[in-house]
C-alpha cells in the first residue's frame, strides 16, 4: 500500500531542492561578504602593510592593544583601543547615527502620515518625494557642498539677505558647524526612504479600525498615540535598524562634504585613512573589525530591547 520510505525521500528531496535554490545566494554572500570580513579580521592580527599584502606576520592583539615596558620602567599602552583619534571617530559616528536616525524617523513618520491620507495626486507626490534618495550620494554631497559654500553658497546668501546671519558661515569647514552640515544633508537625503518604510507600515493597519475609533469619538491625537503608533511600531523598528546599520558605517557623504574635518571623521573614514592613506593596513583592519563588532552589538541590543520580530511570524 503506502511506501513510507518514499515519503521520507520526499522530505529529503524537498530539502535538497531548497539547498539548490539557496546555494547560489550562499556562495555569492560568502564571496562578497564573509570572505572579505574574515580576511579583514585576519589582517587585524598581523603586521601586514599595503605594499606587502601577503607578507604579514601574526602579531596577536598588538593592533588593538599593546603593552610596552620602556627600559626606564615606564609602561606605555599602544593600539587602536587607546588611540584618541579612534575614540573621537567612534563618538562622531554614534552622535551622527543617533541624531540623524532620530530626525529621519520623526520626519519620515510625519510625511508618511500625510501621504497615507487620501488626496489627489498622491501617487505623484509619493514618487517625487523619493528624489533625494535616488540621487547618488556623491552627487548630492557635492551639490550641498556648493550650496553650503561660505562665499558663493545659496544658503549663506539667503540667510544673510533675510538678516539671520551677518556674514556667511563656512559650514563644512568650520569645526563647529561641520557636523550640523553633514546631519542636514543626511536627513534631507534619507528621510524619504524612512517615509516610504513608515508608509508601508501604516498601510498594513486596517482602515476599519480607524472608523471604529471615529464612531467611538476618539480624539485624533489619541488615535495616533494609542492606535497608529503601537501598530506601526514593528515596521518602524525594522526601518530604524536598517537606517542605524547604514548610519553607523557612513562614509561617502562625509568623505565628499567635509574631508579631513576632525569634527566629522567617523569610524569608516578613519579606518580607510589608516588602510590607504597612512599605510597602516593592519591597524586600519583592526579598526574595521571593531566597527563591525560595534555595529553587531548595537543591532543585537536594539533587537533584544525592542523584541523586534524580524522573522515576520506572529504578525496579525
Amino acid at each position: 500500500m503506502f511506501d513510507f520510505s518514499k515519503e521520507l525521500d520526499l522530505e529529503a528531496q524537498r530539502r535538497r531542492a531548497a539547498f539548490y535554490f539557496l546555494a547560489p545566494m550562499i556562495i555569492a554572500l560568502f564571496c562578497v561578504a564573509a570572505w572579505p570580513l574574515l580576511r579583514t579580521i585576519y589582517f587585524s592580527f598581523t603586521d601586514t602593510s599595503l605594499t606587502n599584502l601577503y607578507g604579514g606576520e601574526w602579531i596577536g592583539f598588538d593592533n588593538y592593544l599593546q603593552r610596552r615596558e620602556l627600559s626606564s620602567g615606564r609602561v606605555i599602552w599602544r593600539g587602536t583601543l587607546v588611540d584618541p583619534a579612534w575614540w573621537n571617530a567612534v563618538w562622531n559616528t554614534v552622535r551622527f547615527s543617533v541624531i540623524s536616525v532620530f530626525f529621519e524617523t520623526v520626519f519620515g513618520l510625519g510625511i508618511a502620515l500625510v501621504l497615507n491620507a487620501e488626496f489627489r495626486g498622491r501617487g505623484w507626490v509619493r514618487a517625487a518625494i523619493l528624489i533625494p534618495w535616488a540621487i547618488p550620494t556623491i552627487v548630492s554631497a557635492k551639490m550641498w557642498a556648493w550650496m553650503l559654500n561660505d562665499q558663493f553658497g545659496i544658503i549663506n546668501d539667503i540667510l544673510v539677505r533675510i538678516g539671520i546671519l551677518e556674514r556667511g558661515i563656512a559650514w563644512t569647514a568650520s569645526i563647529d558647524t561641520a557636523m550640523t552640515a553633514v546631519l542636514i544633508v543626511d536627513i534631507w537625503k534619507t528621510t524619504p526612504f524612512m517615509a516610504l518604510l513608515c508608509l508601508a507600515g501604516l498601510q498594513m493597519i486596517p482602515r476599519d479600525i480607524y472608523e471604529a475609533a471615529k464612531i467611538d469619538g476618539v480624539h485624533p491625537l489619541k488615535v495616533f498615540w494609542k492606535i497608529t503608533l503601537p501598530l506601526v511600531r514593528p515596521a518602524l523598528m525594522v526601518a530604524v535598524i536598517f537606517r542605524m546599520l547604514d548610519a553607523l558605517r557612513i562614509f561617502d557623504l562625509i568623505y565628499v562634504l567635509t574631508p579631513n574635518s576632525k569634527a566629522t571623521k567617523t569610524m569608516s573614514v578613519i579606518s580607510r585613512e589608516n588602510l590607504i592613506d597612512f599605510d597602516k593596513f593592519a591597524y586600519g583592519s583592526a579598526q574595521s573589525t571593531l566597527l563591525f563588532a560595534i555595529i553587531a552589538i548595537f543591532v543585537s541590543l536594539y533587537i533584544w530591547l525592542g523584541k523586534v520580530n524580524l522573522s515576520g511570524e506572529g504578525n496579525q
Binding site: P206, D208, I209, E211, A212, A213, K214, I215, D216, G217, V218, H219, K222, K226, I227, P230, L231, Q316
Partner: protein, 334 residues
C-alpha cells in the same frame, strides 16, 4: 431609542451615484434589516446613517434633529463591522473600554459596564485575551460588546455573521435577536445579503436594489405581497417559481409567480403536467422538480415526506389564492 428619517437621500462617490434617492422611516426601537444583492448599496446606507460617510443630497434626521453634518460620535450610534474592526493590540477589556475611557466616565463605571456587557455575551473569561487569541465567534461577541457598552441610541450591524460558519451563524443570529429583545427600545439596523437572516431577525425589512428602495415591510408582507418580481424572487427559499409565455397568458399576466408550497399534486384536471426530473430531500421537506415545458423546472414542495420517483408523470395545480401575477413592468396585478 431614535427614530430615523431619510428624505430623498442620495450618495455619490465622484461621478458614480450609489444611493439614488431613498425615503425611509425607521421607527423607534425597531429592528430594521437592509437586504439586497451584493453591491446594491447596503453598506453605504449604513455608513451614511453612522456618519462615516456624508450624504450628498437630501436630509437625515434622528428624533427630528437634522444630522447631515453631525460627526459619528455625536450621533449616539454604535457599529459592529463585518471584519469586527477590533484593536489588535488591545485585550478584550480595553477593546470594550477604549471608547468609554475617552468619554471621561469614571473608572468604576467603565469596569461595571464592561463587565455587564461581558456577562451578557458570556465572554467574561476572555477579558484578558488579545483579539488574535479568539475564535471568529468570540471576536464577533467582543465587537458586539464594544457596541453595547457605548449605550447607543442606534445599533448598526454590517453583515456581522458573514464570517462565521453555518452553525455559529444560526446561534449568533438567535443571540442578536435576544439582544434586541433585552435592550428593549434600542433601534437596530442590520445589513445582510442573506434573506433568511433578514426574515428571521427583522421587525421590518427594507429591500434595496441598485441604490433604490424596492420595498419596505414586515417579513410576512414581503413574503405574501411582494411589490415586484425582484422582491418576490429575492425573499423566500426555495425561490418562487416564475412562469412566462403561454403559462402566464393563461392567467392574464406577463409573469406568473407561485411558491413551491402553494402547488398541489392532483390527478384529475391538472393545470400543469410534467415529469419528475429531480428531487431534493432536505429532511423536513421534499422538493420535487417537475419539467412542465417552462424555462426552468417547477419546484414543488411535497406534503409530508412522500417520495417521488424520478421520471414519474405528475399532474399539478396551483392554489388560486396564492398566485402572484405580474405585469410587463414587473409590478403585481392585484
Amino acid at each position: 431609542m431614535a427614530e430615523i428619517i431619510l428624505k430623498n437621500v442620495t450618495k455619490s462617490f465622484g461621478q458614480i451615484e450609489v444611493i439614488k434617492g431613498v425615503d425611509l422611516l425607521i421607527k423607534k426601537g425597531e429592528f430594521m434589516v437592509f437586504v439586497g444583492p451584493s453591491g446594491c448599496g447596503k453598506s453605504t446606507m449604513l455608513r451614511l446613517i453612522s456618519g462615516l460617510e456624508s450624504i450628498t443630497t437630501g436630509e437625515m434626521t434622528f428624533d427630528g434633529e437634522v444630522v447631515n453634518n453631525v460627526i459619528p460620535s455625536k450621533r449616539g450610534v454604535a457599529m459592529v463591522f463585518q471584519s469586527y474592526a477590533l484593536y489588535p493590540h488591545m485585550n478584550v477589556y480595553n477593546n470594550m473600554a477604549f471608547g468609554m475611557k475617552l468619554a471621561k466616565s469614571g473608572t468604576g463605571d467603565i469596569k461595571q459596564r464592561v463587565e455587564e456587557a461581558a456577562k451578557l455575551l458570556q465572554i467574561e473569561h476572555l477579558l484578558d485575551r488579545l483579539p488574535k487569541q479568539l475564535s471568529g465567534g468570540q471576536r464577533q461577541r467582543v465587537a458586539i460588546g464594544r457596541a453595547i457598552v457605548r449605550d447607543p441610541r442606534v445599533f448598526l450591524f454590517d453583515e456581522p455573521l458573514s464570517n462565521l460558519d453555518a452553525a455559529l451563524r444560526v446561534a449568533t443570529r438567535l443571540e442578536i435577536a435576544k439582544l434586541h429583545h433585552d435592550m428593549g427600545d434600542v433601534t437596530m439596523i442590520y445589513v445582510t445579503h442573506d434573506q433568511v437572516e433578514a426574515m428571521t431577525l427583522a421587525d421590518r425589512i427594507c429591500v434595496l436594489r441598485d441604490g433604490y428602495v424596492e420595498q419596505v415591510g414586515t417579513p410576512s408582507e414581503l413574503y405574501e405581497k411582494p411589490d415586484s418580481i425582484f422582491v418576490a424572487g429575492f425573499i423566500g427559499s426555495p425561490k418562487m417559481n416564475f412562469l412566462e409565455g403561454e403559462f402566464a397568458d393563461a392567467f392574464d399576466c406577463s409573469t406568473l409567480g407561485i411558491r413551491s408550497e402553494h402547488i398541489d399534486f392532483c390527478d384529475e384536471n391538472p393545470v400543469w403536467q410534467g415529469e419528475v426530473v429531480h428531487t431534493e430531500d432536505v429532511g423536513s421537506d421534499n422538493y420535487i422538480f417537475v419539467e412542465i415545458g417552462s424555462k426552468e423546472p417547477l419546484i414543488v414542495r411535497s406534503p409530508g415526506r412522500k417520495g417521488s420517483v424520478y421520471g414519474m408523470k405528475v399532474g399539478l395545480k396551483p392554489q388560486d389564492q396564492h398566485l402572484h401575477r405580474f405585469n410587463r413592468e414587473g409590478r403585481p396585478i392585484r
